[in-house]
């Protein structure tokens, strides 16, 4: 399945990409499958979105798609059809912090 992934500015710079990233993710398309493939294709992102060992999401990272916060969904749960069909990007964003 062709999935689009949107990264926050600093991770786009780190990965040396512009715009959204396109990944061919095997089914079933889950958060974990997307992140595994993303880190394989862009190894410089390892550890910046989730812990390298535990694979837990970093505290100030959030996952959004289709106007929903998917951050607390289990990593192995399925994603909305608009994401798996490539219509909507899977958005990785840095949480608001500071003032």
């Amino acid at each position: 399945m062709i999935i689009r992934v949107s990264l926050p500015t600093h991770l786009r710079t780190l990965a040396q990409v512009t715009g959204t990233i396109t990944l061919d993710v095997p089914e079933p398309v889950t958060q974990q499958a997307i992140l595994d493939l993303l880190e394989s294709a862009y190894p410089m992102l390892r550890g910046t979105i989730r812990d390298s060992t535990s694979k837990e999401r970093r505290p100030f990272i959030r996952f959004f798609a289709c106007g929903e916060d998917l951050s607390h969904q289990p990593p192995e749960s399925s994603l909305p059809g608009e994401v798996t069909s490539g219509i909507e990007p899977f958005r990785i964003i840095g949480a608001m912090a500071g003032g």
Partner: protein, 370 residues
């Protein structure tokens, strides 16, 4: 003619400053890694084109960058700093035990002879070593066995911020940790001993002369005298003449013996520098005057260096890694401030120029002569 290259790590990126040997007119290149905290950017003594940078962020964690062309291009290397075995616990603020958790790399220290051999001092305090230019990291976990369960973070975090490699003995390593103290290994990092005898922390520790727990801010050595080290502690400027086996105070006539960096002149082993800060509660210079203090007697007798530095309304700080010395015949002295200024003296501190004055808060300074 020599080129001087200054590597500056800041809260919002890295900057590379260059000048000729007169060190008056500076070109500023950057920011590199814009928006990221660069706790340290440094070079390998054995290969001036090999640079390393510790890039970190509260959102995205730790990244290690390496350059093989003097900072023109960079590549990420391994950013996985896994504590050896079961990490264990250290003392927490409330007196309970708390698991060791990696947060960031504070200090990178390449070997003097091998550009691929590099040490990393991290928070929560531990020492890592890479033998392959940062492609993999292994913890030298014997360090945390030295009463690590009694170490406790200070306000700045429990960080290993200083690594000093002995120039005459590749097996001897000194490190300093806030707030645990100074430690020495004589077997290339396999085993360690605390070297805190003589330190007194009357207001910080229940036992003022405890074996561990002292808040050492930085240590420095002249390569020609590897058994003599100087220390800026939370309070007190200290000196050892026996490789850390015992320390004595050399604060002398300083207006305040609280501060962060300490450094030794390139060609005069008894000439040392500190930047006094008012107190632990007031992290800015006494009387709003930014003064570097220089001792030419290895401590005790200090003179203020002020020519070219602001002498009124100055309330910046100089952090522990933000002070450096070059090796030119007329020794250069460099420091960066939390106000974003980088000051340079091309004559051992007698006169100062402002190389750049509006950077983000400066976290680290290193200098190369090319």
């Amino acid at each position: 003619m020599s080129t001087v290259r200054v590597l500056v790590g800041t809260r919002k990126g890295a900057f590379i400053l260059t000048a000729d040997q007169y060190r008056q007119n500076w070109t500023v290149d950057g920011p590199h890694f814009p928006g990221w905290e660069i706790y340290h950017i440094t070079s390998a003594p054995s290969d001036p084109k090999r640079l390393y940078a510790s890039q970190s962020s509260g959102w995205f964690g730790q990244v290690i960058q390496r350059s093989d062309d003097g900072g023109k291009t960079w590549e990420t290397v391994n950013n996985e700093f896994a504590y050896d075995g079961t990490p264990g616990t250290h003392q927490w603020y409330d007196g309970t035990q708390h698991p060791w958790e990696f947060k960031r790399v504070w200090h990178l220290q390449p070997s003097p002879t091998d550009p691929d051999s590099i040490y990393a001092g991290v928070e929560d305090a531990a020492l890592f070593h890479s033998k392959d230019g940062g492609k993999s990291w292994s913890e030298l976990s014997g360090l945390r066995e030295v009463k690590g369960n009694l170490w406790q973070p200070g306000a700045g975090g429990m960080c290993l911020h200083t690594i000093v490699l002995s120039p005459d003995n590749p097996d001897r390593i000194f490190v300093a940790i806030s707030a645990a103290g100074a430690f020495r290994s004589d077997d290339a990092g396999a085993s360690w001993r605390p070297i805190n005898q003589g330190l007194k922390s009357d207001y910080e520790l229940p036992d003022a002369e405890a074996e561990v727990g002292h808040c050492v801010h930085s240590i420095a050595m002249h390569p020609s005298r590897p058994n003599i080290l100087f220390m800026q502690k939370h309070w007190d400027v200290m000196r050892t003449d026996n490789g850390g086996d015992s320390w004595h105070e050399v604060s002398g006539n300083l207006p305040s013996d609280f501060g962060f960096p300490i450094a030794v002149h390139a060609h005069e082993p008894d000439t040392i520098y500190v930047v006094p800060i008012t107190s632990d509660s007031y992290h800015y210079p006494p009387d709003g005057k930014l003064r570097v203090y220089r001792s030419r007697s290895g401590g005790d007798q200090w003179d203020a260096l002020t020519d070219g530095l602001p002498q009124e309304n100055c309330y910046v700080n100089v952090l522990r890694n933000a002070f450096a010395i070059d090796s030119l015949e007329s020794c250069g002295v460099y420091f960066g401030t939390t106000g974003g200024q980088v000051y340079v003296s091309p004559d051992s501190g007698d006169h100062w120029v402002t190389a750049v004055h509006d950077l983000p808060p400066v976290l680290s300074i290193e200098v190369q002569i090319l």
